[in-house]
């Protein structure tokens, strides 16, 4: 029965399957582990649902409902990771009056583990951001803003490793170029660095040096631009060692995550779930333990790789 639920869940949700030789001791006796990744982007201070007469999203969204959904999934799944891709701030009077405090408090109560910096998170300046950070019990991850000459230097990390029952997850974050998007006095001495180079450096470090089973990029670059401007699709295509890009900024509603072939012809999933807490992204990852698999099982997995079912 349990197995059936398990299979059903995989069939119903999006996912990625990885083979790993790295699986840590805690799960060494298992053939595979499952990781449930939940994510949001561009929350934009939407504490309350949209009004019932809203032409686009009547009575949708709402942080209290989001909290209920997260709680329900946590009761059903063993390894849940809750992440955000930036622009938590700005968009309703809640932000104007309380400056992001409620957003951070509620997200902490839901058990968010990390976010990255979006352009609107600078809307009250770096000082305004720093002032709210004590209310956040999650990490702020960004790898392509040089912050050493700003008050954020010891409050934002380049990357973070999270262990879930032995599954090792490596996270890093990418932000959009702030110049022209945010007033210069608001982002101060923040320096924008090349996202592709930064991403490759971080992904290599997390996958090769730290032996992470899964490498996830929290991106606020945007899903897709017709110009040369770097986006999530270009990022996924022109790098290696990234498994999953959880994006934001362009408020893109993707019904299914977009599979992209990376530099090594390996599949990367790119996802984004609109904005305003209207959707909770859900991606399941199965991690097979190579050492525990028999020949025939390995063959089957290889077969699925070839058939493009497994990544």
């Amino acid at each position: 029965m349990k197995r059936r639920t398990f299979i059903k869940q995989i069939a119903l949700s999006s996912g990625l399957v990885l083979s790993s030789g790295y699986l840590s001791a805690a799960v060494h006796d298992k053939k595979y582990s499952k990781l449930t990744i939940l994510h949001t982007n561009d929350f934009h201070s939407h504490i309350d649902p949209f009004p019932t007469n809203d032409p686009k999203y009547p009575n949708q969204g709402g942080i209290e409902r989001l909290g209920a959904l997260v709680k329900k999934i946590r009761s059903e799944e063993e390894n849940v990771l809750l992440l955000d891709s930036g622009d938590i701030f700005q968009g309703t009077p809640y932000f104007n009056f309380y400056n992001g405090k409620i957003e951070y408090q509620a997200m902490s109560a839901m058990g968010y583990e990390a976010t990255t910096l979006g352009n609107h998170d600078f809307d009250n300046g770096i000082d305004g951001l720093v002032k709210q950070m004590p209310y956040a019990k999650f990490s702020f991850i960004n790898s392509n803003y040089e912050l050493k000459n700003t008050p954020l230097h010891d409050k934002v990390v380049n990357n973070k490793i999270i262990q879930k029952q032995g599954i090792k997850i490596g996270l890093f974050g990418l932000g959009v170029q702030l110049e022209g998007l945010v007033l210069p006095q608001l982002y101060g001495n923040t320096k924008y660095l090349n996202p592709i180079k930064t991403a490759q450096k971080q992904a290599d470090y997390l996958k090769n040096e730290q032996k992470c089973d899964v490498v996830i990029c929290l991106s606020h670059l945007g899903y897709k631009y017709d110009s040369d401007k770097i986006d999530d699709l270009k990022l996924a295509k022109s790098t290696e060692n990234i498994d999953l890009v959880l994006g934001g900024h362009t408020h893109t509603f993707l019904d299914t995550p977009t599979p992209v072939k990376n530099l090594n012809n390996k599949k990367v999933l790119v996802n984004q779930v609109g904005w305003a807490g209207l959707r909770l992204g859900r991606i399941e990852i199965l991690i097979f333990n190579k050492e525990k698999l028999g020949k025939s099982e390995t063959k089957k997995i290889d077969f699925f790789h070839k058939k493009n079912i497994l990544v």
């Binding site: 069939a11 999006s14 949708q60 209290e64 809640y94 839901m110 959707r279 525990k292």
Partner: protein, 250 residues
């Protein structure tokens, strides 16, 4: 047991593969989200956390601060609007009180985010009208930059302005009056606007040549709320008129 699990899981994938032959997505790339709607209950922990703020905010937002005597629509393709004139005047008057040499104000239609209805106006309505954290600034422009501002108004076929008038002719030429006078080559002009526009927002590139941009230390939204409150306290309605500030000759 474990072996069985993996095998059956794999078999399941095969089945899905067969069943989904015409589907371009593999079974692992189905719907990647759950919609947040009223089928979900509320998380009581989160509710008790946000409730006090919800109550406080509702009370603040629902406070009526003034009465508007005519509907003022958010229009983006008219040369001059009631709403544009009202807000441009509020900005001009405030800047003039701070600096008597202020010559004019300029804003953008796109930045005024909602229409004002006839009737009671709440604080919440002003937040809808001006959700951004834009500050009011005073830019010093020389004559040649003012000519570019004039060109900009021509190219945009109008934007909200106060204490200035422009007539745009068929051939693209125009007559521009500031303070009721044509531009004077040796004069510098003080133009009130927002920090967003003064940094080149909505294609107002000419502001890059400003000799000085001085903050007036108030947010545009706060200024609008203050103006509406003052009117409300004095029992005067909020009103506006079309005055041929931007005229497009046919």
């Amino acid at each position: 047991m474990q072996l069985n699990k993996t095998l059956q899981l794999s078999l399941c994938c095969v089945l899905f593969l067969c069943a989904c032959k015409t589907n371009k997505y593999s079974p692992f790339q189905k719907k990647g989200f759950v919609t947040i709607d009223n089928n979900l209950t509320k998380n009581s922990e989160i509710s008790s956390l946000v409730k006090p703020y919800q109550n406080e905010l509702q009370a603040k937002m629902n406070t009526v601060i003034a009465y508007c005597d005519t509907p003022m629509e958010r229009l983006l393709k008219e040369p001059e609007t009631l709403l544009g004139n009202l807000i441009a005047d509020i900005v001009f008057e405030y800047a003039y009180q701070n600096n008597i040499s202020t010559d004019m104000s300029i804003l953008n239609f796109g930045g005024l985010r909602t229409s004002l209805p006839k009737g009671d106006i709440t604080v919440g309505k002003i937040f809808e009208l001006m959700p951004f954290e834009n500050d009011v600034v005073l830019a010093t422009l020389n004559h040649s930059t003012m000519l570019k501002l004039q060109e900009y108004l021509v190219s945009q076929k109008g934007q909200p302005i106060s204490n200035a008038q422009i007539t745009i002719n068929n051939d693209g030429s125009s007559e521009f009056l500031v303070n009721n006078k044509p531009l004077h080559a040796s004069q510098v002009y003080l133009v009130a606007t927002t920090d967003y526009l003064a940094s080149g927002g909505d294609k107002m590139k000419f502001f890059e040549e400003a000799l000085e941009i001085k903050p007036l230390n108030i947010k545009l939204r706060e200024l609008i709320i203050q103006y509406f409150k003052d009117k409300g306290n004095n029992k005067e309605p909020i009103t506006s008129r079309i005055q041929n500030r931007v005229k497009i000759s046919q």
